[in-house]
Structure formats: structure tokens, C-alpha cells
């Protein structure tokens, strides 16, 4: 039988002989594979960065936000119309006091505010919380220190700043010990926070400052309610029981009767991650089906062109058979050709997706990563398409009667 490398060579020869036709035939595969790989790279890229940003907060977290949960969207539904002012500092104190399975618990107010130093200014995210945030929220201090229990107790005007703020306001200067203005009020910088990078929405998580919760409530916003409460547990096993405990404590704090709905919603980090991955999975499946259809169309294109090729080369098949090619040799020759055609399309599709990913990474907030898995998937898919849609034309070629084939004009 003819050697494999010989078949590959023959396949490439005939592809190069009809360059335009080959490329047009491959187009369906290029687009199909390109779409699959690109979507997978965005899907997993987005998922990766959401997961990273949520996991970056800390681990084994339980998150409480105000407003009753609607269906399962809970924590995701930040725009729920219900009581936005239900969470209080006292709830945090109560959890600290009565819960046995919660490790740490912090109050959080999230907002954005202008931050200035001398003539320079920037609009930064303001994380207001307690001294425990360093642990629970995973703030890593690079230099200086995080604010202390007494800072919180005294509503001290102190702040820790993220790298972007440090860079924008102080560039070469050392920010430690300097006094900057937040919403026009003086804050002394006592620490700098390590970089956390960008989250999935393209927000610069480093463009942030952290201040004591009491200072924010009393001096900046004059508000008595929290954006959220974040708690963590020692181990993953404790999450469920701690969630129950916290629900009970907060309900009691809020004086809810047994029939009343929660005026807050509570969800664990894993539940949030699950909800997020469901969203991205739906996205992936939708685009994946579109890609599957273009692969199907591409496959039919390959079948069509292979049938044409078999007819065009009837005489060649006759000659090969006359000099001793077996049916199987002819079958493998044409099958190799359709696989080479489809696989080349697949590889071009991967390159195409790679370019899309590069462009997205450079010019959009989306991070796209092409995983080895998606390349493997694309390669095996296009091989499969080549085999599946090539088998019928190849069988037709293999079954040609050599005499008829030789008589073919």
C-alpha cells in the first residue's frame, strides 16, 4: 500500500493546485473553528477573570446584600427595588457576637469618590470597611499598615491606597504619611495596597482606596446602612451552617416574624461562582451551536469539492488502479485529502481566533485566552469533519471500476 507520507504529499499537491478553490472550501471550517475557539477563549477568559476577581476577595466567603432575594439571582441582582437600607453595622456586631461558625465578618460600603492630592485628582473606588477587611477581603499591604481597630472606633481619617491611585497622585513621591483629600476631606495615607489587576468588566481594581467604615459613614456619606456584609469561615464545610446561623441572627436583628421574607439576601461565594458560570455557559453554548452549523456547512462544502475532485481525477484513479493501487489505497488517498483540507481550515481557524483574541486583549476590556483544550478540540473536530464528509467521496473513488476509469475522458 502507498505510504502515509506519500498520501499527505499527494493531498497537499492537489490542494495547492487549486489554491482558490481550496481556500473557498475551507472557509466554512475556518469560520466555524475560528468562532468556536474565539468564543471558548472569551468564555473561559471572562470566566477566569470573574472567578479570579471573586476569589481574589478571599475564600470561603458568605456575602449578604440588602433587599429580598428574587428567584435565584440573589447576589447578582444588585438593582432589586426592595429595602436597600436594611443592613446595619449592628448586624455585623451581632454576627460577631453570636455566631460560632463564622471566622471573620466585615461591613462594606462600596462607592466611588474624587480623591485629590495637591493639584492632581482621580475618581477612585472607595472600599469602606473594618480592620478585619485586611484578612477577609484579602487586602495585601505592600508598605505601611492597614487601619486598626482603634482607627475604626475613632472614625480616624486614615486611608490605604491602591497602586493606580498611588501612581496617579504621587508618581515618584512616597505617598506614605502624606495627606490627601477624599470628597474634600483630609485623609492621612498609612499604607499602600498590592495590585489586584483588572476585573471582568475592565474595571481597574487597583484604582481604589480603603477607609474605616465609621469614617465613611459619619464623615463622608452620612449614611447609616451598608452595601454588604462579607463573612468567611475557617473551612468550606462550615459555609452552609454559617449561612444558616447568619440568616437567623440577621432575621432576629431585623425583628422579622416567622412568616416574613428576608429583607436581605445571603449567598456563598460558590453559589455566586456557579451562577456566573451558568451565565457564561449559556453564552458559550449559544455561540457554539452557531459554530456547529457553520462546521456542518463547511463539511458539506468539503464533501462537494471532494466529489468534484473524484470526478476530475477519474482517469488518475484508473491509472493508479492499473498499476496496482488497491481500493483501500485510493480510499486513504482521498480521505487524507479531505482531512488535510479540513484540518488546514481548522488550523487557519485557530490562527484566526488567535488574532481575535489578541485584538480583544489589546483594545477591549475582555481578556481572551486560547486554551490548549480548545486547540485540541478544534483539531479533533476538523479532523472529524474531514473524515465524516470525506468518506463518501473517497468510497466512490475507491469503488471505481479501473477500466471505466481509464476510458473516462
Amino acid at each position: 500500500m502507498g505510504s502515509f507520507s506519500e498520501n499527505i504529499k499527494i493531498a497537499f499537491q492537489s490542494l495547492f493546485l487549486n489554491k482558490l478553490r481550496s481556500v473557498l472550501t475551507m472557509l466554512g471550517i475556518i469560520i466555524g473553528v475560528g468562532a468556536v475557539v474565539a468564543v471558548m477563549s472569551i468564555g473561559s477568559g471572562a470566566q477566569d477573570s470573574v472567578i479570579a476577581s471573586i476569589q481574589g476577595i478571599g475564600s470561603n466567603l458568605i456575602i449578604v446584600i440588602p433587599g429580598s432575594s428574587q428567584e435565584d439571582m440573589g447576589a447578582l441582582n444588585q438593582f432589586s427595588t426592595a429595602n436597600k437600607e436594611s443592613l446595619k453595622l449592628e448586624d455585623v456586631e451581632a454576627i460577631k457576637k453570636y455566631s460560632r461558625h463564622v471566622n471573620g465578618v466585615i461591613p462594606v460600603i462600596l462607592s466611588a469618590a474624587p480623591v485629590t492630592y495637591l493639584d492632581k485628582g482621580i475618581n477612585a473606588s472607595v472600599y469602606a470597611s473594618s480592620e478585619d477587611a485586611e484578612k477577609v477581603y484579602n487586602f495585601e499591604i505592600e508598605r505601611g499598615k492597614f487601619f486598626s481597630k482603634s482607627d475604626v472606633a475613632n472614625s480616624a481619617n486614615v486611608a490605604c491606597i491602591g497602586p493606580t491611585v498611588a501612581d496617579k497622585l504621587f508618581s515618584d513621591e512616597d505617598p506614605l504619611g502624606k495627606t490627601m483629600k477624599v470628597m474634600g476631606r483630609n485623609f492621612k495615607i498609612i499604607g499602600t495596597i498590592k495590585s489586584k489587576g483588572t476585573n471582568m468588566f475592565g474595571q481597574d481594581q487597583d484604582n481604589a482606596i480603603a477607609v474605616p467604615i465609621t469614617t465613611a459613614m459619619n464623615k463622608l456619606y452620612g449614611q447609616k446602612y451598608l452595601s454588604m456584609i462579607i463573612a468567611d469561615t475557617e473551612t468550606e464545610k462550615d459555609i452552609d451552617i454559617a449561612t444558616e446561623e447568619m440568616t437567623r441572627i440577621i432575621r432576629k436583628q431585623h425583628a422579622l416574624k416567622s412568616g416574613d421574607k428576608n429583607d436581605f439576601s445571603i449567598q456563598s461565594q460558590t453559589e455566586i461562582l456557579d451562577a456566573l458560570s451558568t451565565v457564561t455557559n449559556i453564552f458559550t453554548i449559544t455561540i457554539g451551536s452557531i459554530a456547529a452549523i457553520s462546521l456542518l456547512v463547511g463539511g458539506i462544502g468539503i464533501m462537494n469539492i471532494m466529489l468534484v475532485s473524484v470526478t476530475e481525477r477519474t482517469r488518475e484513479i484508473g491509472i493508479r488502479k492499473a498499476i496496482g493501487a488497491k481500493n483501500r489505497d485510493i480510499l486513504i488517498q482521498f480521505l487524507t485529502e479531505s482531512v488535510v483540507l479540513s484540518l488546514s481550515g481548522g488550523i487557519m481557524g485557530i490562527i484566526f481566533a488567535g488574532i481575535i483574541a489578541l485584538v480583544l486583549n489589546k483594545y477591549s476590556p475582555i481578556t481572551a485566552t486560547i486554551s490548549p483544550f480548545s486547540i485540541l478540540l478544534a483539531v479533533s473536530f476538523s479532523t472529524f469533519v474531514g473524515l465524516f464528509f470525506g468518506i463518501y467521496p473517497a468510497m466512490r473513488a475507491a469503488r471505481l471500476n479501473p477500466i471505466e476509469a481509464l476510458r473516462f475522458e
Binding site: 500500500m1 502507498g2 505510504s3 506519500e6 499537491q13 492537489s14 493546485l17 482517469r315 488518475e316 484508473g318 491509472i319 493508479r320 488502479k321 492499473a322 498499476i323 496496482g324 493501487a325 488497491k326 481500493n327 483501500r328 489505497d329 471500476n401 479501473p402 477500466i403 481509464l406
Partner: protein, 252 residues
Amino acid sequence: MAKNIIRMEQIAKTYRIGKIQVKALRGVDMNISEGEFVSIMGPSGSGKSTLMNLIGCLDAPTSGRYYLEDIDVSQLNDNQLAAIRNSKVGFVFQTFNLLPRLSTFQNVELPTIYFLDKIKNKSKKIYEYIENVGLKGKEKNKPNELSGGERQRVAIARALINDPTIILADEPTGNLDSRTGEEIMAIFQQLNKEGKTIILVTHELDIAHHTERIIYLRDGLIIKEEKIDKPVNARETLAKMPKIEDRINSEA
């Protein structure tokens, strides 16, 4: 007496095209011994090509028995027939039937890639066989860069490369001018002298007279056989023929 290499008993071949039946061969008995140089003559449509295809195992007879080197070919399946075509038969066609995209070297190489055994020093052998048919230096040429005579030489080298038992040539000079045809016949005579069994189909009597025996075919039956005591020697004929330059001069 030399060994019988081909033995046919009452070979018949009927083609069916829809409802129409064409009886191309109607009971052919034929023996060819090893080392013979035989020609098959007959008018167009008499069944010469059909007979060649059967001898060469490209097709199976409708009825009758055919033994090639004592193998009952009528009993073999497609794959076994392909293996016989590859190792025991070398085809030379009127229309050359080279693969247009392949070079001389690649065309000659083609039968070896379907050959079951490994050939030692394969490319050396290919170069050697190309040189033997007088095409040294044209190894890289594509068929369209060769003259008709040169193409037929490539086809002959291809037919020989797996060292087959028989060479089958179906009107090999039909598309060539008489001098080039004579050159091809010289190659066949040389091969026959070296011991190859050759069967040649032609409808030109003077070509048939280069062989040792003529089998006359008509309407699918052998009607006559003729021994040629003194076959025409192609080499001598060529020596007497005007050279190409002379022909061009005389035409001018």
C-alpha cells in the same frame, strides 16, 4: 520447451450497458510461453483491448478460465488482482496514461509505492530504469515537458520498475510518428531479448511484424495465428530511416 506463462480457456467477456449486451470476447483459447513476444492484431472493436485488460487482471472474464503463472486468476478478489497487477504486470497504453502533475521520476516511482515488498536502493533503481529507456537528465520533467516518444519511454520505465513477469502494451505506437514508433519497438525488442514476455496490441501489420507471433482477432474470436520466422529488427530499420534533421530538410 519454455514454461507456459499465460493459459486461457474459453474466455468470454460480455459488457452490459443497460439492456444492451456487447459480446466483446466469445470464447478465446490462448497460450503464451515465457519469454515470448506476441502481437494481437485485429480491426477496431474486435476485442483486443478487452483481451489485454483480462490478461492484465484489470477486469474479470464473464466466463472461462485464466491461469497466470498457474494461478487461477478467475478465483481472485479485487485486492489480490491489484497485487498481481502491481507485481506481475506492466501496462503500456496508447495514450501513455502518465499522471500529469508528477515528474518523470515520480511517475516511474508510482508502482513502487503500492508494492508490497521494500525495494532496496529504490531511487537508485528508478534512476537506472529511467536511464535505460534513454531519459537520463529528464527525471524532473513533467509529462507536458516531454515529447510523445519520451512520454511513452516514461510509461515503459514505469511498467518495468517492479520487475513484472509480463509487459502488456496496448497500441503503444498508435499516437507516435513512425520513427518514434520504431524507437519504441527497439526498446521492446531489447527487453524481449533480455527475457521479458511481451504482449503487444496493434492494428498496424508492420508493427506486428516486429514480434515473433501474431494472433489475429475478429469479433471476439481468434481467427488465425501466424509465426514470424524473421521479425523486423527495429534497430536496423532505424539505421536506414532518415534522421530527424534530414526529414526537416526534405520537408523544407
